[in-house]
């Protein structure tokens, strides 16, 4: 009996991991390392992966609020990051709906399309409506590294999901 309740507590904690990781990455700006030659967006990887595989563990409300927090910390117009994160969720939800047999390579390239669209949208909105100048080369580097690192983080999250939470929705 005690063993069951202990397992339930640890399972409850493991299920919170995606939300905790998202907020840690946003609050500490872990992903956006202040380097000109290497930076990637960890939050985008996390959101796409968990919305695709277990969307019940990362609520859209949490993602929306994480975007608001990110805008506040970085100094972007309120709502822009939330919008981009949620469009990314839309891509993941669409892929989940149309996929019958999941394939990592297919997910990976769909992720590239998703981040390309969301980053372009963000760039267009910021540049055209808010006169915020962004360096295209940095955005390109950020998108490329985010795409390349997806496969690594995906493997880590897969391992975590299989061994600590379980693949099936509740």
């Amino acid at each position: 009996m005690a063993n069951i309740s202990k397992n339930n507590v640890s399972l409850f904690f493991f299920k919170l991991v995606p939300v905790i990781l998202l907020y840690i990455s946003v609050l500490l700006q872990l992903d956006e390392d202040n380097k000109d030659y290497f930076n990637f967006n960890f939050a985008q990887i996390l959101i796409f992966y968990w919305c695709l595989k277990r969307n019940d563990l990362l609520g859209y409300g949490f993602i929306f609020f994480a975007g608001i927090v990110n805008d506040t910390l970085v100094g972007l117009p309120l709502g822009i990051t939330s919008f981009c994160y949620l469009v990314l969720c839309g891509f993941a939800a669409y892929l989940r709906t149309i996929t019958i047999s999941p394939s990592l390579i297919k997910d990976w390239f769909f992720f590239l399309l998703a981040i390309f669209v969301t980053n372009s949208l963000s760039f267009i909105i910021l540049y055209l409506f808010f006169d915020v100048e962004l360096k295209m080369s940095k955005l390109f580097l950020n998108t490329s590294f985010t795409f390349l690192l997806y496969i690594i983080f995906s493997a880590i999250f897969d391992y975590f999901l299989k061994n600590f939470i379980g693949l099936k929705n509740d």
Partner: protein
């Protein structure tokens, strides 16, 4: 078989409109709220500004608390590093001290002479109100470079005030909340400051550039500028006082960059200054 247009629409509808498993909101609803936030921010609606100030105050404080252990570790790392470089630093400082002692007497004479001459030609004097502030959040994104300080409208901070670290200009106040403010650093692409390059006396605009450097733009006498020249604020535009040191010129492949005197990643306290003009 090719998926039909209907299948595509059904999949899109399912992805955006349906609430997912254990989801409280649909994607469509939240995307709409984000867009409403964006539109209201664009047109500066009053209520969205109040919401923004409330969120800013909470998030800045929360981020400061979350980041406290990392700040502690950072401080300790630099403390240990400084201990290892103690003797080397001592020698450098000793040389600098000797040079500065020589220059001090010269500059004291020049200051008094300058004041006397300004009185003769009835020029404008600047007086400044100084506010010391602590940096709460300094995690800069690769796209936007700014820091958050713990003084706001409550402490008479207003938009556009100059921000200095020690004696060097590092940016200006861009956004003011009740107890916090955001400072746009000179290394940000969106920062544009009128500067004076000495000893050539060339006026130009300093913008943020790559690799935490500044970039000199819109200067007329491009060929006059040489390496190691000093960049000062020019005082044009009436926001900043003339003569605040900013950095040194570094010319790379015909691109005129500015290496800032201060490392923007190492700032703990800043001085926020408001300059007002006083006629003699």
């Amino acid at each position: 078989m090719e998926p039909s247009r209907d299948d595509f629409i059904i999949a899109i509808r399912s992805a955006f409109l349906k609430k997912g498993n254990k989801q409280r909101f649909s994607l469509f609803a939240l995307i709409t709220i984000s867009l409403i936030f964006l539109i209201f921010s664009k047109y500066n609606f009053k209520f969205i500004n109040y919401i923004k100030i409330g969120i800013n105050e909470t998030v800045y404080r929360a981020s400061f608390v979350v980041y406290a252990p990392f700040n502690f570790l950072d401080d300790k790392y630099f403390e240990i590093k400084n201990h290892f470089n103690l003797y080397k630093n001592y020698e450098i400082l000793n040389k600098d001290l000797q040079n500065l002692r020589k220059k001090k007497y010269e500059s004291e004479f020049l200051i008094s002479e300058n004041k006397r001459l300004k009185k003769v030609i009835e020029d404008i004097y600047y007086s400044s109100d100084e506010i010391i502030a602590k940096v709460l959040v300094d995690k800069q994104s690769p796209f936007l470079k700014s820091v958050v300080i713990n003084k706001g409208s409550k402490n008479n901070i207003i938009k556009g005030m100059a921000v200095l670290s020690e004696y060097h200009l590092i940016g200006k106040v861009e956004e003011v909340n009740y107890t916090t403010s955001r400072v746009l650093l000179l290394s940000d692409l969106n920062s544009k400051i009128p500067v004076l390059i000495e000893p050539e006396g060339v006026r130009a605009i300093l913008s943020g550039g790559e690799d935490n450097l500044g970039e000199i733009k819109y200067q007329k006498e491009k060929l006059l500028i040489s390496n190691e020249s000093i960049v000062y604020s020019s005082g044009l535009g009436g926001i900043l006082k003339a003569g605040i040191p900013i950095g040194k010129i570094k010319i790379n492949n015909r691109k005129i960059n500015v290496k800032f005197f201060k490392d923007f990643n190492q700032i703990s306290f800043v001085k926020v200054l408001r300059f007002s003009e006083e006629k003699n």
